[in-house]
Amino acid sequence: MEPGRLVMRAAGLTLVLSTAACATPDLYSWGRYEDSIAAMYATSSGYDPAAEVARLSQQVEETAHRGQRVPPGLRAHIGFLLIEAGNAERGVQYLRAEKEAFPESSVFVDGILARYHGNEP
């Protein structure tokens, strides 16, 4: 295959993929939530919880600022990282925000609050 044809083929494929992606807009603004989870479990990534909390909490703020939706679980994820790092006060704020945005999380969030914060709902 000539290089020119390869480029054309690649361009065609990219076009197909991008139009497919545009067909249905996402419900949520995902940012680096998935990458952050993957990095948590990667054996050689040098995962830094404090840096992840900083990036993810900034993402949540920016998402809200743009009027887009924060994905389910992300606020609880940040809250859990904060509590694990000893910052219970900020962590509890994120957990409560998860519950407010997604009442489906109430039972679990209340359980975490009771367990890690000694704070019955």
Binding site: M1, L6, R9, D26, L27, Y28, W30, Y33, E34, D35, I37, A38, M40, Y41, A42, T43, P71, P72, G73, L74, A76, H77, F80, E84, E98, F102, E104, S105, S106, V107, F108, G111, I112
Partner: protein, 219 residues
């Protein structure tokens, strides 16, 4: 380099062949609002498979309109509470999962195959997953599905070129593992399959329409 790659994305719901449309009656009767994704049980030979997959399963589920519990928090929480492995987590009684998480349904995932095999002329990466969605209150099986994604890196030219490209692919794959991307494709295509996929959840804008269509079809 005269190489090219192509995707084969094949899917089938349990049983394979050319299956009839999924029977959604139990699913419609126990329509879940929230899904608890338990860490996948790994039946493949690649130890890193489950966690790489766990990271990519939230998005396709949430985009179909379900509340998805934070997977890493759930994993850590269960590990800290005496359930060290995914198999231990899968063995927890559904009633206990309702009590602890308040979840409507749980998604049980098995990774059946995950990896890249190298031959002289090409290399093939393959990811195969099995999923079961269970209503946690009635323990009814709502949905099952198997997804597979394959990426072949082959060569259209001479044998010498083919040998060179197999070597390059092997080096490239050891640097950049294609399997997480394949897993993402396998799961999102499986969940979104028009005849065998998950029903739309109540947070999806087309939820009502989807419910009406499937209720009519189930009559």
């Amino acid at each position: 380099m005269r190489t090219f790659a192509w995707w084969i994305l094949a899917m089938c719901s349990a049983g394979c062949g050319s299956p009839p449309p999924h029977d959604y009656r139990a699913y419609l009767a126990h329509m879940p609002r929230s899904i608890l994704v338990l860490p996948p049980v790994n039946d493949s030979l690649e130890p890193q498979a489950p966690n790489a997959f766990l990271a990519s399963v939230t998005r396709p589920l949430a985009e179909r309109g379900y509340y998805v519990f934070p997977v890493a928090v759930v994993e850590a929480y269960m590990r800290q509470n005496g359930r060290p492995t995914p198999a231990d987590m899968h063995a927890v009684a559904p009633s206990k999962l309702v009590e602890v998480f308040g979840a409507d349904a749980a998604l049980y995932i098995h990774i059946k195959d995950w990896g890249t095999s190298y031959a002289v002329l090409n290399s093939a990466s393959r990811v195969v997953i099995d999923c079961r969605l269970v209503d946690l209150r009635s323990e009814a099986l709502l949905w099952t599905g198997s997804g597979m994604a394959v990426e072949n890196s082959g060569n259209g030219g001479s044998l010498v070129g083919a040998l060179a490209s197999a070597l390059v692919n092997q080096v490239a794959a050891s640097v950049h593992d294609p399997c997480p991307a394949l897993a993402r494709r396998a799961s999102s295509s499986l969940f979104a399959h028009p005849r065998h996929g998950l029903l739309l959840g109540w947070r999806h804008p087309d939820f009502e329409r989807d419910q009406v269509a499937h209720r009519a079809a189930a009559q």
